[in-house]
């Protein structure tokens, strides 16, 4: 067991170093900075989705938290003129507030019915924001949002808003932090409680796990992290509109990446994002400009059929076989 965890730690460290150091060899690869930066970004969303999925909840509506976080930050920045560095963590609270509401309202829902409720929950903020034109500019959205500011460290200026390489490192850092959080979620006492709920709720309750409390904490953390992602997204793009953020695609992608990568494994969601998103953007998108996202639908169907545990579990088994 220790040999295995040491091996996986070494692999994770190696992958991190590779991701951090390859720009030294290719300093001008803007396309790759953008694609791998966004892969890291979706990795964070997949981790956020998976934190709620640890207790067995399959959410089909994380776009609600994403969009509310995005709108929270965009409106603060638009009306009050605050720096995105301040509005992103505050705006994400809007996503978390909705997560609190969902956690309370959906406390008795499980499985399929929870999935349906979360799917429908996206419509509410979407329609409200669409129609509340005096505050949100309705379906036109807001353009010209403030980008991320420059950060000065002595003589060094890091232009997060303009330099794609700097953005890549920011998103990589975001992913690393999400990965550490995921590790904490999995292996802490709380994580064990969550997984006990997933495996057998009645047995977990008998063992003294407070079901509602643990699930509630999971959705709060998950919705805040997703809201942070949404807020960051709005400022990275510089524009926002309801159809862009309350999108089936935003709900589906974290689920697909997470289940494809392996939602039971520590590195599963991240692995899924780092494999699948670049494949989609670098190989499929140039050949099939519209409709290339069909690949995510195809991948999730194939994954459920052929390796329901995900790629990470399959790789882990292969590694074990080699080391034996």
């Amino acid at each position: 067991m220790t040999g295995n965890s040491r091996l996986s730690q070494a692999l994770a460290l190696g992958a991190t170093l590779l991701l951090a150091l390859w720009p030294l060899a290719w300093p001008e690869a803007d396309l790759y900075f953008q694609v791998f930066g966004m892969a890291c970004f979706y990795g964070v969303l997949a981790v956020a989705w998976n934190i709620y999925a640890l207790c067995g909840a399959i959410s089909l509506g994380h776009a609600a938290f994403f969009g509310l976080g995005a709108y929270g930050s965009a409106l603060l920045s638009h009306y009050l003129g605050w720096s995105p560095l301040v509005t992103i963590p505050i705006g994400a609270l809007a996503g978390m507030a909705y997560g609190v509401g969902c956690g309370l309202l959906f406390r008795d829902l499980r499985g399929v019915y929870l999935g349906l409720a979360t799917l429908a929950s996206v419509e509410i903020p979407k329609v409200v924001i669409d129609n509340w034109s005096s505050l949100t500019y309705g379906s036109m959205g807001i353009v010209g949002l403030a980008g991320l500011p420059d950060i000065r460290l002595g003589d060094l200026v890091i232009a997060l808003g303009r330099d794609l390489k700097a953005q890549y490192y920011l998103l990589l850092l975001f992913l690393l932090m999400a990965g550490l959080l995921h590790r904490y979620c999995l292996f802490s006492r709380w994580g064990w409680a969550l997984r006990a709920i997933r495996e057998n709720e009645t047995a977990a309750a008998m063992a003294g796990v407070d079901i509602f409390r643990q699930r509630f904490l999971a959705i709060i953390l998950s919705s805040y992290l997703t809201g942070l992602g949404g807020a960051l997204y709005a400022h990275l793009l510089g524009l926002i509109e309801p159809a862009l953020v309350f999108n089936l695609h935003i709900s589906a992608l974290p689920l697909v990446l997470s289940i494809f990568g392996g939602r039971l494994q520590l590195y599963g969601p991240i692995l899924g994002a780092l494999c699948l998103y670049p494949l989609d953007q670098l190989i499929l998108q140039p050949r099939l400009p519209t409709g290339h996202a069909a690949v995510y639908g195809l991948v999730i169907m194939l994954t459920i059929f052929f390796f329901p545990q995900g790629v990470a579990s399959w790789l882990l088994k292969a590694c074990r076989r080699v080391s034996n």
């Binding site: 399959i58 089909l60 309202l105 959906f106 008795d108 829902l109 499980r110 499985g111 399929v112 019915y113 999935g115 349906l116 409720a117 799917l119 429908a120 929950s121 996206v122 419509e123 509410i124 329609v127 409200v128 669409d130 129609n131 089936l248 695609h249 589906a252 689920l255 697909v256 289940i259 099939l288 519209t290 409709g291 290339h292 996202a293 069909a294 995510y296 639908g297 195809l298 991948v299 999730i300 169907m301 459920i304 059929f305 329901p308």
Partner: protein, 285 residues
């Protein structure tokens, strides 16, 4: 007078919603597969009708027989796909059809572009009075939806096959013991559901704008009526469709057209909170 208008558009829309829900509920009742791609299949049928209408120039109702043949084929393919799904079947079928919905949405985006499309035949007013306007499209919508619903009701309640289907919906194990081939009943349910989807498509293309991302709304409509009414209960589904149709017409009148989409989502969440264990709980308890 304005309320008569609301009621009329509510009832014609509601009958159509019942038609949408009927196929979903039949498939779910017999096979326990939550088909989140239901709306996308209706859209596909609608696009088929749209292109038939556009390139042949004939009345859009000629598309109905074509869709009636094509869509059961698509539904049976879906049945084939879902047969291989492992336990937990309900959740896995939900995730798979969610993936299928995403796949079909992108396929339609690629094939039919993101433009809004609508079948707009040259049709007169059926009735025009001060403050009241009924179009022929609305009348046809009402008639065809009611005919399909009535036919489904008759099949379920007055034929031997219908009896077997209802038995499979009510209790699968008992149906098996009674010698009913439940697997074959699943095939029948998908075929029949596919025909209902086939009828719904051309009507959809005349009533609402077709665009690739529009399927989710139809799916939510089907889910909310099914959860309200229970599975395989035609009359309750019709009542649920009417209620939803009138509620949406009222919301459009009182709040504006933009708020209409909210009605089914809020009703769905409310129903689920009210009945957290869903529709099958009663049968299994």
């Amino acid at each position: 007078m304005i309320f008569a208008q609301i009621l009329i558009s509510g009832f014609s829309l509601g009958s159509f919603y019942a038609l949408i829900a009927l196929g979903f509920s039949l498939i779910f009742g017999v096979t326990h597969a939550f088909n989140l791609a239901h709306g996308e299949l209706i859209l596909l049928s609608g696009y088929l009708a749209y292109y038939l209408w556009k390139f042949s120039g004939a009345s859009p109702y000629w598309a109905v027989p074509v869709c009636l043949v094509v869509m059961p084929g698509a539904a049976l393919l879906l049945n084939l796909l879902l047969r291989g799904v492992k336990a937990p079947f309900e959740l896995n079928s939900l995730v798979i059809t969610f993936g299928l919905a995403l796949f079909l949405q992108n396929l339609m985006l690629w094939g039919f572009s993101a433009d809004y499309r609508l079948i707009q035949p040259e049709m007169g007013r059926f009735l025009e009075a001060p403050g009241l306007r009924i179009t022929e499209t609305q009348v046809m919508l009402l008639l065809l939806s009611l005919a399909a619903t009535g036919l489904t009701h008759w099949t379920l309640h007055h034929t031997f096959l219908g009896k077997a289907l209802r038995a499979a919906i009510q209790d699968r194990r008992a149906a098996l013991l009674a010698g009913i081939n439940v697997r074959r009943m699943g095939l029948v349910a998908f075929g029949f559901g596919g025909m209902l989807i086939g009828v719904a498509g051309p009507l959809y293309a005349q009533t609402m704008y077709l665009y690739p991302a529009g399927g989710l709304e139809a799916t939510l409509t089907a889910v909310v009526i099914t959860i309200f009414a229970g599975v395989g209960r035609t009359r309750a589904i019709l009542a649920g469709g009417w209620l939803l149709g009138v509620a949406e017409s009222l919301a459009t009148f009182l709040l504006g057209a933009g708020w209409r989409e909210l009605v089914s989502a809020v009703l769905l969440i409310g129903l689920l909170i009210f009945r957290p264990h869903g529709i099958l709980a009663k049968g299994e308890g």
